[in-house]
């Protein structure tokens, strides 16, 4: 067992953060400084720590923990996402003062689990890291004061999570029994055709179910809109973004097993196609903004599959890049929602009416976010989708690519209705006024700028993602 602390600085930093939060959570609200005062600063520092250690590479703990371009890419995105999620949550109106330190501790713990997940290359390690991040979320979701729906959402998330986890563990046992190893590197050398190893294929499919649950891929997506709706806006912002990264990184690693043409790959492609179509069609009928974004998550989970089934380094890179794009776009959308609902209520579409007048910067940012989620240029959503399409074309799943392209036409309607309500409807509804403080506007502006800049100049980040993909495919 070799262990080198210098390679895992981001994880260690996050761990120290968790320790500090743990100590503060032992005390009461009179302890100074308050957690909102210092945590954003250190979370931001964590982002820089993750960037600085992007070159780390090596393996440790009997080869179950691997540091490569892929893991570092995801760690940077996770650290950045954690930073934004923490900033977003500092103004959470539906969180009691006494519970604040605990809230952030679980948030940090969940992000830490995802960081570990992005380096895990062995199925048991993956399982443990996944659980670490999930358990923290189980406690976070019900933390919404005076709202019974949050408790309902919490129960739903736990029950679904428990079933998915059980399936996953059960599948793991099959894989171990059939292939006699749980190391992904060793597994990728084996055959995954149904004819050669039916038990292993069943096992892997069940194991993947755990990831699908995290990613909210059909048919394990049912929790997604309900949980978004029940959890507070700020918690939903986290649940909707970072855990999906954890799922994508594992799927990208496991995609080395999924050669195009295999039964399991085709199944994945089908699930992706159903997921995107189903998600988009369900979203058409929604009125609650968070439910819209919930079904949009289901659709986006389907889009990521397009890169995974391509079976090339470019495909994996495109999937990783799209995961990044997805996180940025959703953080932007949820940022705007959290700021508009300054009293912590759930927004319906009519609550967005006249936003252009009440909070022009938020309205503009919402527009950028919505058009990015549709995949219109010049945003990161377009370029991400474009990379997916280009990577997957002529790799055996052209019908999936066409499904992806056509889905934009379904999706435009409900994303456009966000913009329509913000820009063209003038009948105002009751409710607290949107937060138009500098904090709110600058945050929205920076995220919107990120969505546009990544769309116009994707090359540096994308090259990093391609390097990560090539590291896996050799």
């Amino acid at each position: 067992m070799n262990f080198s602390p210098t390679l895992v600085v981001p994880e260690l930093f996050q761990f120290l953060l968790i320790m500090a939060l743990f100590i503060q959570s032992l005390g009461n609200r009179s302890w100074e400084p308050h957690v909102e005062k210092w945590l954003p600063l250190f979370a931001g520092l964590g982002f820089f720590v993750a960037i600085v250690s992007f070159k780390s590479s090596g393996v440790m703990f009997y080869d179950v923990y691997k540091l490569d371009a892929l893991s570092q890419f995801f760690k940077i995105v996770i650290a950045a996402g954690f930073f934004v999620a923490v900033l977003n949550a500092t103004r959470q109106p539906t969180l009691e003062g006494e519970k604040r330190s605990d809230y952030y501790m679980f948030l940090a713990l969940s992000a830490w689990g995802l960081m570990i997940l992005s380096s895990a290359t062995e199925l048991f390690t993956i399982y443990l890291a996944l659980e670490l991040s999930s358990y923290s979320l189980y406690t976070l979701i019900p933390l919404r004061a005076h709202d019974k729906r949050a408790a309902e959402a919490g129960i739903k998330y736990i029950l679904f999570g428990a079933v998915a986890t059980a399936l996953s563990l059960y599948g793991l046992s099959y894989v171990l029994a059939a292939q006699h190893t749980t190391y992904i590197a060793a597994l990728s050398a084996k055959s995954w055709a149904w004819a050669d190893a039916p038990m292993a294929v069943v096992g892997l499919s069940l194991f993947l179910a755990g990831m699908f649950y995290k990613l909210a891929l059909f048919p394990l997506h049912f929790w997604c809109p309900d949980v978004y709706q029940g959890a507070s806006n700020e918690t939903a912002a986290y649940v909707a973004t970072l855990p999906k990264l954890g799922a994508v990184v594992i799927l990208v690693r496991l995609a080395t097993l999924l050669k195009p043409g295999l039964e399991i790959t085709t199944t994945l492609a089908w699930l992706g196609a159903i997921s995107m179509t189903f998600g988009n069609i369900c979203a058409l009928a929604q009125k609650d903004v968070k439910r819209i974004l919930g079904f949009s998550s289901v659709a986006h989970a389907g889009y990521v599959m397009v890169g995974l089934v391509a079976g090339t380094a470019q495909g994996l890179a495109a999937a990783a890049f799209y995961a990044l794009a997805y996180v940025v776009m959703n953080l932007l959308a949820f940022w705007v929602i959290s700021r508009v609902a300054s009293d912590g209520r759930n927004l319906v579409l009519d609550d967005l009416n006249g936003l252009y007048k009440r909070a022009p910067a938020l309205a503009f940012s919402l527009g950028v976010g919505a058009f990015a989620l549709v995949g219109l240029p010049p945003t990161v959503g377009f370029i991400g989708k474009f990379f997916l399409i280009t990577a997957a074309w002529n790799q055996g799943y052209n019908w999936l690519v066409i499904t992806l392209a056509v889905n934009s036409a379904f999706a435009i309607y409900y994303y456009l209705s966000l913009v329509r309500h913000a820009y063209t409807e003038d009948t105002l509804t009751e409710g607290a006024a949107p937060d138009t403080s500098v904090f709110s506007v600058v945050g929205a502006g920076l995220l919107a700028a990120l969505v546009l800049i990544l769309g116009l100049i994707p090359a540096p980040i994308f090259d990093f993602a391609v390097a990560a993909g090539q590291g896996l495919m050799h």
Binding site: L376, P377, W393, I412, A459
Partner: protein, 512 residues
């Protein structure tokens, strides 16, 4: 690239965006309008080097740098004879739009001018992009400002019209993106000039043509896909209709010329009878429906369907006169229909109605207005001496060269155009006036924005040779390439329809 000290085409794309950003820091309604007008004139000044355009088939003013090298994306702009006129049209439309909205638009002025400037940047981008993905970026980027123009400043039914516009055009272009990617995977590049050198298998051309044609046919719009156009035109504000008619519709026909003919010549040949048939359907149907309208704007909108039918017809005749006529008709339709929509805006500001019956008897009280209306009407149905005649006559020559049947089929279309334009013109001029007595005739601003297109109507109508010299080399090259390459692939495949059917069933079988 820097023959003129600055990248000409890039500056034409970037400057409106910068000017639009500048709008955020200025205040005051009149200042915003004046600023945008100044910006639009400066944009034309920036385009002065384009006057040195050489009369050849080469791509000129080329700018080319890598964008995403990993994926072969390039930032590649250029113009040739097919696009140069469209760029001038776009540039001159902007100041006219600002002028014709001076009093028409009274709310959210800053955002309105932001949309106009953004729109211009995207339109110039569409006509100059030589990289397929860059083209697609501009093509889609233009939807957002156009949507807002209709949805925010439109008429009573703006919600319906704007969503319909967005859904139709976006749905059409989703498969265009897939076709673009397929070109890259098969042809190895996104660069349009390089792809134009390659010959693809018929099977590939067949599907790519269909994917592209759907996007372009919706944009034009051709007959079965035209229903978004009247809704959008009627609801859009005056400037929105002008941009829609003058520039947006041209993108569809530009797409046919730039992509379908050079990249998929064999498929274009194969589908030509179908395209000709629906072009004729557009001409006759658009004209017939226009004849029955009581809303002036709807009438002009349906007349657009008919006129654009002449353009697509000219393109798919594949002879010099036809394609020349199509390009002329694109320019003319932009000028004339743009002018007519501005006129409708002018009279709408007086009567607050687009109904013909509410705008009767203007001949006595608004003679200047009726003069311009008469002029544009004549140009619209192709009266000799006006620009409309040049374009339509060329398409007619091309059609009769192609086949007698096609020629005779479009004759009623030209007659219909005269009928509906005279019908509305007569009522406007000599009907019993309701409240026209109190209206003022055109003011100076209105004179200016109506005079500029009017000058062009006569200039192109009487002395079109300079325009021929601009477009001819490119058109000749386009057709020469087309005729030399449509044969190559034809011998490869003899039963395309059966093959396509087999493929479709093959895909279905693979799915089951």
């Amino acid at each position: 690239m820097l023959d003129y000290g600055y990248p000409v085409l890039s500056s034409l794309v970037v400057f409106p965006l910068l000017a639009a950003a500048g709008l955020f820091i200025i205040r005051g309604e009149a200042v915003v309008r004046g600023y945008t007008l100044a910006a639009s004139i400066f944009e034309i000044i920036l385009a002065i080097p384009l006057v040195t355009y050489k009369f050849s088939a080469d791509f000129q003013f080329v700018e080319r740098i890598a964008w995403v090298s990993q994926w072969g994306l390039e930032y590649h702009l250029a113009v040739d004879g097919i696009s140069i006129l469209m760029i001038w049209l776009t540039l001159f439309t902007l100041p006219l739009c600002v002028l014709c909205s001076w009093t028409y638009i009274s709310k959210r002025i800053k955002e309105f001018h932001f949309c106009l400037l953004f729109m211009t940047a995207a339109c110039v981008g569409v006509f100059t992009a030589m990289d397929l993905v860059l083209f697609y970026v501009f093509w889609e980027a233009m939807l957002i400002p156009m949507y807002l123009l209709i949805a925010v400043w439109g008429g009573d039914d703006r919600k319906y019209a704007s969503i319909k516009f967005f859904l139709y055009t976006l749905a059409g272009s989703t498969l265009l993106l897939v076709a673009i990617v397929a070109f890259r995977i098969t042809g190895g590049t996104f660069s349009i000039p390089e792809l134009m050198q390659q010959t693809f298998s018929f099977r590939f051309q067949f599907w790519c043509f269909l994917a592209m044609a759907l996007a372009f046919a919706i944009k034009v719009p051709m007959f079965p896909f035209h229903t978004w156009l009247p809704a959008a035109h009627v609801q859009a504000p005056s400037a929105g209709s002008v941009i829609l008619a003058a520039i947006l519709l041209k993108m569809g026909t530009y797409g046919f010329l730039r992509f379908c003919l050079p990249l998929t010549p064999a498929a274009s040949e194969y589908f030509a009878p179908m395209m000709i048939a629906i072009s004729i359907a557009s001409i006759l149907y658009g004209g017939a429906v226009a004849l029955g309208q009581s809303d002036i704007k709807k009438l002009i909108a349906y007349s657009s369907v008919g006129h654009m039918g002449f353009v697509t017809l000219g393109i798919f005749l594949f002879n010099l006169r036809g394609v020349e006529g199509a390009l002329f008709q694109m320019l003319n339709h932009g000028i004339v229909t743009g002018g007519l929509f501005m006129m409708i805006g002018t009279v709408y500001e007086r009567s607050h109605s687009r109904d013909i019956d509410k705008n009767l008897g203007l001949g006595k009280y608004l003679p200047a207005f009726m003069f311009f209306w008469g002029l544009y009407s004549l140009a619209s149905f192709g009266f000799p001496g006006t620009n409309g005649f040049v374009g339509e006559a060329l398409v007619f020559v091309g059609a009769f060269q192609n086949s007698l049947l096609v020629g005779f089929l479009i004759v009623p279309g030209a007659l219909l155009a005269a009928a509906y334009m005279f019908r509305v013109g007569l009522k406007l001029a000599w009907g019993t006036p309701s409240s026209a007595k109190t209206w003022k005739d055109l003011n100076t601003r209105e004179w200016i924005y109506l005079l500029i297109p009017a000058v062009m109507v006569f200039y192109i109508g009487l002395a079109p040779s300079i325009f021929f010299r601009m477009i001819d080399p490119s058109v000749e090259k386009l057709l020469a390439d087309y005729h030399s390459r449509k044969q190559v692939a034809e011998t490869v495949e003899e039963h395309p329809m059966q093959t396509a059917a087999r493929e479709l069933f093959g895909i279905a079988a693979a799915k089951n």
